[in-house]
Symmetry: D2
Subunit: 486 residues, 4 copies
Amino acid sequence: MSKVIKGGTIVTADRQFAGDILIEDGKIAAIGDNLTGDEVIDAEGAYVIPGGIDPHTHLEMPFMGTTADETFESGTWAAATGGTTMLVDFCLPGPDGSIKNAINDWHRKSAPQICSDIGYHMAITGWNESIFNEMKDAVDMGVNSFKHFMAYKGALMVEDDEMYASFSRCKELGALPMVHAENGDIIQELQQKYLAEGITGPEGHAFSRPPELEGEAANRAIMIADAVGTPLYIVHVSCEQAHEAIRRARQKGHRVYGEPLIQFLTLDESEYFNKSWEHAARRVMSPPFRSKAHQDGLWAGLSAGSLQVVATDHCAFGTEKKKMGLNDFTQIPNGTGGLEDRLAVLWTTGVETGRITPEEFVAVTSTNIAKILNIYPQKGALVPGADADIVVWDPKISKTISANSQKSIIDYNVFEGFEVTAQARHTLSRGDVIWSWGKNSAPQPGRGRFVPRPAFSSAGTALSRWKALNTPRKVERDPMNIPSGI
Amino acid sequence: MSKVIKGGTIVTADRQFAGDILIEDGKIAAIGDNLTGDEVIDAEGAYVIPGGIDPHTHLEMPFMGTTADETFESGTWAAATGGTTMLVDFCLPGPDGSIKNAINDWHRKSAPQICSDIGYHMAITGWNESIFNEMKDAVDMGVNSFKHFMAYKGALMVEDDEMYASFSRCKELGALPMVHAENGDIIQELQQKYLAEGITGPEGHAFSRPPELEGEAANRAIMIADAVGTPLYIVHVSCEQAHEAIRRARQKGHRVYGEPLIQFLTLDESEYFNKSWEHAARRVMSPPFRSKAHQDGLWAGLSAGSLQVVATDHCAFGTEKKKMGLNDFTQIPNGTGGLEDRLAVLWTTGVETGRITPEEFVAVTSTNIAKILNIYPQKGALVPGADADIVVWDPKISKTISANSQKSIIDYNVFEGFEVTAQARHTLSRGDVIWSWGKNSAPQPGRGRFVPRPAFSSAGTALSRWKALNTPRKVERDPMNIPSGI
Amino acid sequence: MSKVIKGGTIVTADRQFAGDILIEDGKIAAIGDNLTGDEVIDAEGAYVIPGGIDPHTHLEMPFMGTTADETFESGTWAAATGGTTMLVDFCLPGPDGSIKNAINDWHRKSAPQICSDIGYHMAITGWNESIFNEMKDAVDMGVNSFKHFMAYKGALMVEDDEMYASFSRCKELGALPMVHAENGDIIQELQQKYLAEGITGPEGHAFSRPPELEGEAANRAIMIADAVGTPLYIVHVSCEQAHEAIRRARQKGHRVYGEPLIQFLTLDESEYFNKSWEHAARRVMSPPFRSKAHQDGLWAGLSAGSLQVVATDHCAFGTEKKKMGLNDFTQIPNGTGGLEDRLAVLWTTGVETGRITPEEFVAVTSTNIAKILNIYPQKGALVPGADADIVVWDPKISKTISANSQKSIIDYNVFEGFEVTAQARHTLSRGDVIWSWGKNSAPQPGRGRFVPRPAFSSAGTALSRWKALNTPRKVERDPMNIPSGI
Amino acid sequence: MSKVIKGGTIVTADRQFAGDILIEDGKIAAIGDNLTGDEVIDAEGAYVIPGGIDPHTHLEMPFMGTTADETFESGTWAAATGGTTMLVDFCLPGPDGSIKNAINDWHRKSAPQICSDIGYHMAITGWNESIFNEMKDAVDMGVNSFKHFMAYKGALMVEDDEMYASFSRCKELGALPMVHAENGDIIQELQQKYLAEGITGPEGHAFSRPPELEGEAANRAIMIADAVGTPLYIVHVSCEQAHEAIRRARQKGHRVYGEPLIQFLTLDESEYFNKSWEHAARRVMSPPFRSKAHQDGLWAGLSAGSLQVVATDHCAFGTEKKKMGLNDFTQIPNGTGGLEDRLAVLWTTGVETGRITPEEFVAVTSTNIAKILNIYPQKGALVPGADADIVVWDPKISKTISANSQKSIIDYNVFEGFEVTAQARHTLSRGDVIWSWGKNSAPQPGRGRFVPRPAFSSAGTALSRWKALNTPRKVERDPMNIPSGI
Ligand SMILES: [Zn+2]
Ligand SMILES: [Zn+2]
Ligand SMILES: [Zn+2]
Ligand SMILES: [Zn+2]
Ligand SMILES: [Zn+2]
Ligand SMILES: [Zn+2]
Ligand SMILES: [Zn+2]
Ligand SMILES: [Zn+2]
């Protein structure tokens, strides 16, 4: 049964135009005028955009002695209602340290639950021969990106030589290294310092993770990636310091990508100084929100091209779990929400203000990450042959964000009270309408699929070529010019 | 009669994929596998790319007391043989100062000659009410970009207040201001200084136009565009100084575009120090070639996104005309060639080395400028409905560039002796194969068309919205708080 | 009769140490321990510093159809009570355009009035042969610095070629060019725009002079100075944009100096949005106060060495004169006060907070400008042989700044209400105690002297040498390699 | 017995003037005209400058399995003949790890040998309670600076948390942390990579230590120092990357100092590509010489104030010792010479060309480091009371540098063949003429003294004050707003 999305203004990363979209077998069959199909989806007065991709979520993630509340079902469902049709979740090795087992474990948990499609990044939290070997398995299993934590000392953190080794392996495999960039050593020192000074509340979280520590780590990871000769993706860029390091590298021809979060574009550190402990603790995530002074630069990065992706780092711990850190901010589980609201908040604060164009909105919410993760145009595009992950985006539906009315299962929302001016009228996942505004749509757990991603992106291939051409060469010396031994 | 380009690897600004392209009525009718048509164009082993757009040419331009040699016929033809299917030429007002008359004059000259499509930028070389009025006529006639010369004092140069006025008019009309950025006042001072010191040869041209003068003017034009609230396009960016100004502006959210020339990416100022006067004089153009130290930054700008377009500033004066400046470098007609070789040289030095990806090659030779000039996807794209300006780009045809074998009618080539590793196997203009490698193709003057361009690009519209939201507001004061007059 | 300043901590630009200072014949005769003299000046518990030099004042200056209120008497007196023992005032040519006459006129006005020493900068407000010639007269008369206004179009403003010519003349004469850096063309456009929009109040002054216009002009002046090969001094640096241009130049080896004002370090643009017209109008000066975001960078510039001097641009128009612009902000006389409070405000906000060291305080209030203006160590130093312009600076005298209690004759103070924590206990001018705290000191008009300044500073000489070594050289060509004429 | 240096031009960091210097009891007794003394030292036609201070030497240092050849005697003697009257040598803990013992050991070795004065920096090569405690002993013993190696993994290298701990201890003690900034982890990876590729020659040394690794480490150390709130001194700055990190920090108000070496200002990496293994191996030091592109920036840093000190890192291993690395560049002892030639090379390439002024020459060779190390004006100054470490610097004595004629005991000289245009006519150490040109002066081992340095410099004190004022504050929350436990 075919469907036609009719009457909308199609917006892609490169243009806007009036047109219909014909969908067959879960894929886009045609784009054009006056298309017909068995079923008509009304897009009159709305934009038609590629479904959002949120490349940074932690669903049901075991972390800091507890587990993130958002499930694969609730997460993919909440995302879909907000216009996001694919999540890329972070997969962590279990106690056995096996990558393969971890991926299979993630499949086991996600498969029966997910309402729309998903992919994984694999975390590299140490280094040994088995990890080296299993990285190939991960790539073979469709996971082409590996995350490295430069923070969480004593837990997930890796050292510089481990990053060098892992990045080198990524390069061989055509995979993309990613980093959580914060200096874990110094965070630990500052945590101890502020706790010793009696600062135990959530504000201590922000104080112990100043932006300089993020900038330093970003800069260091970039240097290592450059020494290896691989592109690098820096998750959750929150501050000018990290952005500056990224820009500096890009201006030398290095292929570095930066991902600000929607939170960092719109919220600031004053949240941690709120007189309500709960208000503050619910915002605890790493890196923390920054001062307002950082926001203009992040926005400019999106239009200038020095930052490419807006994500959420959705890792939702409910208030009860936050209370684990009641007397010690270092024990507050790190993470907050956003996957349901990302598109609406970005549209309202970005497109409606003219900071970014509608095309750039599509680029940073969907297309760019699809290219970076090498699944474009299967995802992130509106072209014949692409998966019909499509959103009819209605710029006339406004709402006030509230935990009371959200689909996410956590008990608060960091955007509580925000007025947004646009919403998904319909969300399609591979051609199925899984959400329609005001129609009592229900989640369909298990219909989502894992999307394997091939290795060797075009950018990585080009960089490898350049590095190979410019590798240092041995100086050939006449034995006459070499002294005999000592 | 339909045509199919079969068996190639299609490369666009956003991806590479195997596919055929069906052409009907001069437009792309379909892209897919196993397409059939009346005629087959073989693309086996080759890339299929959007025809190049060179947005910076001066054909038959009257300048410095003479006229550029390259005609509309020879220029469009030479370009087509090199894979470029559209030129945007600079239109200068004649003695009557009328914009409308100038455009009609350009039509009169170009229409019978052009072998492929063309557009114009209009030069604003002064300011008065009639220019203000006729700018609207230009936009109505399909010219949506206006060029301002900050150099050529006493001739084309405009002052800051004139730029402010013209940029403001551009903003109203939804047109794009462009600048030739060099400080004309200081150039004139330095010319006089070096002539007085007895430096009369072509090296004096380079000495009297140091990169700092270009950086200064770029910076100034950017400030004016920002004060007005309009995007800005900076032609022929040759140096780090101008690039730095562009980057700085973009990082504040300002929409500024920069256009390095293929010459600046690959040739350097040592050409002006050549012991042969003719060799040196043939390279005289403004801005001049720079020291090698500038090149890495320009290349990085292309991959980082801080520079968007590679052009040529093709303005070819033959050796005889260059001799006008035999005893005085300031009298050497400024300009050189490149439109025939741009793609091959960029491919060889950029894609083959891994400095840029094939996708970026397409972006900077075609797609980006089509977007900037608001004719995308009619031009610069491979999508159904687009003009079938397509090149079958063969990465296995190598040749040595030489004036002896070129199509351009000038008697030298600044790339003389360059080995290039790729060439256009076929060039199609609106579906017509106008050039095939080794097939004795002949120019078809008069088949080209003028391409009108609409106003109000997406980027300009967004910027206007942002500026409107952030415009300063009057402080309302109680009359009690305002003293009575004096 | 000799004097000894006893028991203080001597602070110079390079160190702090306990010591006495012996003064004879108006000069420092010795510095050491246990010195004796005919008279003892108590410095117990205080710092002993070189008298402040304010290199940027406009006393009794005719401007904008009126004349600045502060007289040479009241100005030098108020300065002295605040610890400043030398002013460098801006001398403007009169209607006859003569530099020599202007200097003599300034002498005529200042000589009978000044309570402490003075020097002049000469303004270059146009260009012709007589100005060229008279610049030498100025240098011979002890004026080694020339100011150029890039703003005040139609009045004081000069064009780029005029600056090039004047800077070149400065270089020849070993004099220092200075600029007021704001783009006068664009200011005029913005003034007209905001007036047309009905913004007639003082906030329009700030709106029509955004920091980008200052940054642009600074950048342009720097380029011109570099093309000429001369150092450059940029007065009243208010913003990051200008500071960035200065830093960028210095990092290329160019000798550029920047002078933030004490106002810009401590006050911000919100003053212009005050609901009281008078409050706002009294703060109107050019450049205007900027947003707080600019302040951190200026402060850092003082400790980093990228900015050298803290001045005041004291040009005090009383409230009645400000009312000339009651209905049109462009008619509000530009200028405000500060020379009395500069040291105390800088000490309190800079030294007391640790932003700058006491040594840096001395450097930026006195020593650096003495070096730049080539009168060091006659002024700005505490060494034997130097003029005994000395301040006993008491870090325990606090006061609240108020127009009610100030010595300046204007009827307001932009620092009204500031609590300062230090004051001059004694101020000596060439050995005379001209001010003692709480002792009813009275002004002594006529005792001050004009301080002639020699040309050819060390920095300028070095730069000239470097430029001479690196000047472009003619390419010698064999006649065989030059074609015969056309 | 008094001495007078007569007839010279005195040059200090702040001025030049004609004057005589009277010396009594090893100290400067007076500076003035027509001074008389028992003995006259002729300075006619020469400059009189403070003796050079080389703050970076490794005399007789045990390293990489051998010991640096230059002895305390030959080193201080060679330095003195070149105008350098004080060295600050790096003291390394011995096998027992004791700081106190190491200092005493250094005293034992140096005391009988040194011909002029000396000080030490203490190396911190690990972290434990005894190091924490003994750092105080070091300060009490007159060592107020502590060096941290971020390279030499497995040997001297310290980790980030160790740096944080040690920097914090430095801050408490008022001492200055210093770093050798290169990323030791990545160096080791690159060493293994290039060795595995068969690159065993000295060029591998350069390849395995690219400038990005130095920039990264500098940036990281700066971040740590900023988190602690202490000034930082970065030794042997060789490249733009490290300089950029320093500038960026300084422009935020952070007090970071950078020390380029005279080698880095004048020599480049092509030395490592020399066809003679010995030539190349003799230049092996860390960081290595860089490409010429780095030099302009370092020079500009000296005049702009972003770099403060020119040193040598004199650590001379003779050719026989270099051969330890004949088959493996990682075994070539790292280090080269320079202390004898630093002033002459800097004068010739810096002052004679106009890149720096004579005053800046004095500042970067002597005065600045004396201030940074808190021994100013005992050293680094020409003022009454200062140690009479004075050089009569003759700008008319030229010579060709050669190992054949040098005083240093190593068997080569990296400046071999350089023509220098100035030399020390006389060198005085605490009033003793220890070297006169052409007079067969002989070394006087044992006359030199250790110079203890006090803690708490003015800059450090100011920074501590600023950090204390701006330290984060606890958010006080009403118990009502804190949930009860979980
Ligand atoms: Zn993270
Ligand atoms: Zn995360
Ligand atoms: Zn041009
Ligand atoms: Zn042109
Ligand atoms: Zn001014
Ligand atoms: Zn002024
Ligand atoms: Zn070292
Ligand atoms: Zn060393």
